[in-house]
């Protein structure tokens, strides 16, 4: 695999960004859109080609240095690519789903004045995301890590006339930065421990550390802080729901399918280190489970179609971290893949709905859309089926694998997973029923305008629906007479980890009957939740209360997202603002008091000292004579007299 091929993968979108960015408003929309899509497709083709080459060459990891980026003393940080199973999988998801979303955007953004700019940003995002997954060291990963944060900022605040959108964008960037600081400190700790940032070197040296070594625990915890920010885990998740301010394709691409899974990618990439730190894995699992439950519970009561999906994303990312926490790395990756399909599909479907509803996002104003948007409805149904973990669609297989590993590891974790799964099923079917079933509840004008989206938008929906339906078959477990190809494909990635901590990778040892039982429970629970949703929202036709109704008790708490935003505002934002004002007005004043005080002291003393100048000539003459006498006394008597020896 040559460097130029690998370079081509990120550089194609980058070229698209440069051309669209520099030629913004000069390039006609049709050309700009075509260019953006071609860049993404070209990158997808190159990724596919790289994948086939990789297979041909016996699945050997390829490291391709491009140039030396930063070198200081013995620390050398090359700009280089690493291609192995993990980066290839990510490459295919990013460029594949990315291309579909680019195509979708052609239709969705058609009438936007910032059309060219939008494609430039999307391409830039692809560029950074590709760097993130292709880099062969942590600092390269960090380039992509921060770069996608930037693109996320630019795209959330894409409609920058609106101040609340801008605030959401800023919030996303800053919360990500908090995580990034953890990541950066993790890198420094790695440099201190290993003297290198290259994956291959670090993982080769990791064997020298024993399991549970505090150095490794620190490193992995710090890196995980970065993952919390990027993958929206507790406590850094509040930016993701706000990020829905961006155009819907952005939510699909960045805030569902790709960028937010960077944290999972990072942990899988560092699996050797994480396997050495069981404490960190526990933390990861606990945070993941908590996030999964929290996100799902908030999702139960949300009425904005995109907010529901956003909290669902938070919750699903929690699942992936549960999997990581129980060292089921390939299960986590499996869920990343299937989630990319069905969540992108859900967002794009939501976008299609919003498009049809003239930018209405409140599901209380929708209803009965399945007649008007048949393609959107069917694809949305498939995605809902998939995300709820109902067989035989993609979500079932990946979620089941995670839950099986969780069960083997810790029953409580499994219980939480089932609880989250029930809630997921409920809020997704609630969303589906409220949107597509019942009577239309919107305005006359909206009803008049209802239409199925153009084919540039429906074709990506159909492709993603197929993938959401069939995507699970890459990882059919043994118990269902599959061979779990994905796990087999990824298994070389974990050889290092197996070597340093074999105990962690012992077979989970569940009997087939247990596994059937687990599947039965999770599917049954999800089905029950779906039926409950059907009874409430279709049979009884109830609609969530409007904003003006006073909510009480637990419902009020959950409806207001547990007041976490308010809490952060009160605990962090306000105090920093107040501190800033205090330091500026009072702190600066106090420091300046010393400086000005020093000046004032000099002026005061000089005021005293000048009183010596009385202006009387006689006084000056007396002082002069006195001075001369003293000089003479010193020179003639003191200097030459032994009696004064001690004085000198």
């Amino acid at each position: 695999m040559s460097v130029s091929l690998l370079l081509l993968i990120p550089l194609l979108p980058f070229a698209g960004f440069l051309i669209n960015g520099l030629g913004f408003k000069r390039i006609p929309n049709s050309a700009a859109g075509g260019l953006g899509v071609l860049a993404a497709l070209g990158s997808f083709a190159a990724s596919l080609y790289a994948f086939s080459l990789f297979k041909e060459n016996g699945s050997e990891t390829v490291i391709a240095p491009v140039f030396d980026w930063i070198s200081v003393g013995t620390l050398n940080i090359p700009f280089s690519f690493q291609i192995d199973q993990l980066s290839l999988l990510m490459l295919l998801i990013i460029t594949g789903v990315g291309s579909l979303i680019h195509i979708y955007s052609l239709g969705y953004m058609k009438h936007d004045e910032g059309f060219g700019k939008f494609f430039a940003y999307l391409n830039l995002f692809l560029f950074f995301m590709l760097l993130l997954v292709m880099g062969s060291n942590y600092v390269m990963m960090f380039i992509g890590w921060e770069g996608v944060g930037l693109c996320s900022y630019l795209l959330i605040g894409f409609w920058n006339r609106n101040t609340s959108y801008n605030n959401a964008a800023r919030k996303a960037f800053i919360m990500n930065r908090i995580g990034d600081l953890g990541f950066l400190l993790g890198i420094f700790a790695i440099i201190a421990a290993f003297g290198s940032v290259e994956f291959s070197e670090i993982f080769a040296k990791a064997g020298a550390f024993s399991v549970g070594d505090p150095v490794i625990v620190t490193i992995t915890l710090l890196l995980f802080v970065g993952a919390m920010g990027k993958s929206a885990q507790i406590p850094l998740y509040t930016w993701l729901p706000d990020a829905m301010a961006g155009p819907t394709p952005v939510s699909a691409l960045i805030h569902a399918a790709t960028m937010v899974t960077a944290g999972i990618y990072m942990v899988i990439r560092s699996n050797v280190l994480y396997s050495l730190a069981p404490v960190t894995l526990e933390v990861v699992a606990i945070i993941g489970a908590a996030t999964a439950i929290l996100g799902a519970s908030i999702g139960l009561l949300q009425n904005d179609i995109k907010k529901v999906l956003a909290y669902s994303t938070v919750s699903q990312l929690g699942y992936m971290f549960i999997a990581l926490g129980v060292a089921a790395y390939s299960a986590s990756m499996f869920h990343v893949i299937t989630h990319a399909f069905f969540k992108a599909l859900l967002f794009l479907g939501a976008g299609s709905v919003i498009h049809a509803m003239s930018d209405e996002q409140d599901i209380r104003q929708m209803g009965g859309l399945r007649k008007h948007l048949p393609v959107t409805f069917i694809t949305f149904l498939i995605a809902t089926w998939a995300i709820s973990g109902l067989p035989p669609f993609a979500g079932f297989f990946s979620k089941d694998e995670i839950l099986a590993h969780a069960f083997a590891h810790n029953k409580v974790l499994w219980g939480l997973g089932i609880l989250g799964s029930v809630m997921t099923s409920f809020y997704m079917f609630r969303l589906l029923f409220l949107t597509f079933f019942g009577e239309f509840r919107g305005t006359e004008a909206q009803a008049h305008h209802l239409h199925e989206s153009p084919s540039s938008m429906t074709i990506p929906l159909i492709i993603l629906a197929v993938l959401s339906a069939a995507g699970g078959f890459i990882g059919v477990p043994e118990v269902l007479h599959g061979s779990n190809q994905l796990a087999a494909f990824m298994s070389p990635l974990f050889e290092g980890a197996r070597k340093v901590n074999p105990g962690l990778f012992a077979p989970i040892g569940l009997s087939h009957s247990t596994e059937y039982m687990l599947m039965g429970i999770s599917v049954g629970a999800a089905l029950l939740a779906a039926i409950a949703a059907y009874v409430i929202y279709v049979q009884r036709g109830s609609v969530p209360a409007p904003e003006s109704v006073e909510r009480r008790g637990l419902e009020k708490l959950v409806y207001n997202k547990y007041y976490i935003d308010e809490l952060y505002e009160a605990v962090f934002v306000k105090p920093v603002r107040i501190l800033s004002d205090v330091l500026w007005s009072f702190g600066e004043f106090v420091i300046d008091l010393f400086v000005e005080g020093f000046g004032a002291l000099v002026i005061f003393l000089s005021g005293k000292a000048r009183k010596l100048q009385t202006g009387f000539t006689g006084y000056y003459i007396f002082a002069m004579v006195l001075g001369i006498v003293l000089f003479l006394f010193w020179n003639l008597v003191v200097k030459h007299n032994s009696a004064f020896k001690d004085l000198l």
Binding site: R610, K611, Q613, T614, G615, F616, T617, G618, I621, F622, V625
Partner: protein, 116 residues
């Protein structure tokens, strides 16, 4: 009595007639009189005269030593001092005269504008 060098033997007798320390006493007396005059009098002209007295006390001392050491350098030096003193007197008196013309007064206590 004093740790000053005794006169070398080859100076003329006529000089030795007055011992060196007489000169010392005289010039010290003159100098102290000058200092007291400077410190106690308030009339600028009198102070000026006292300064001259001090100057000449020093000149006298220089001459005396020079004679007792047979070294003419100091005598040359004294001429310079006198020349400079003359110039200084000219300038100083001119200033005092100007002050007098403007203020009708030569009291040093009166001229105290140059303070603070």
């Amino acid at each position: 009595m004093f740790p000053f060098p005794v006169a070398p033997p080859d100076i003329p007798e006529v000089i030795k007639m007055v011992p060196l320390h007489y000169y010392l006493f005289l010039s010290t007396a003159l100098f102290v009189i000058g200092i007291i005059g400077v410190l106690t009098r308030r009339n600028a002209i009198v102070i000026f005269m006292s300064v001259e007295l001090m100057l000449n006390a020093v000149n006298l001392l220089l001459i005396a030593f020079s004679s007792y050491r047979s070294d003419p350098n100091a005598q040359v030096f004294v001429f310079f001092v006198m020349a400079v003193a003359a110039a200084e007197v000219a300038v100083g008196l001119a200033i005092i005269v100007m002050i007098y013309r403007n203020t009708r007064n030569t009291d040093i206590g009166f001229l105290k504008k140059l303070k603070w």
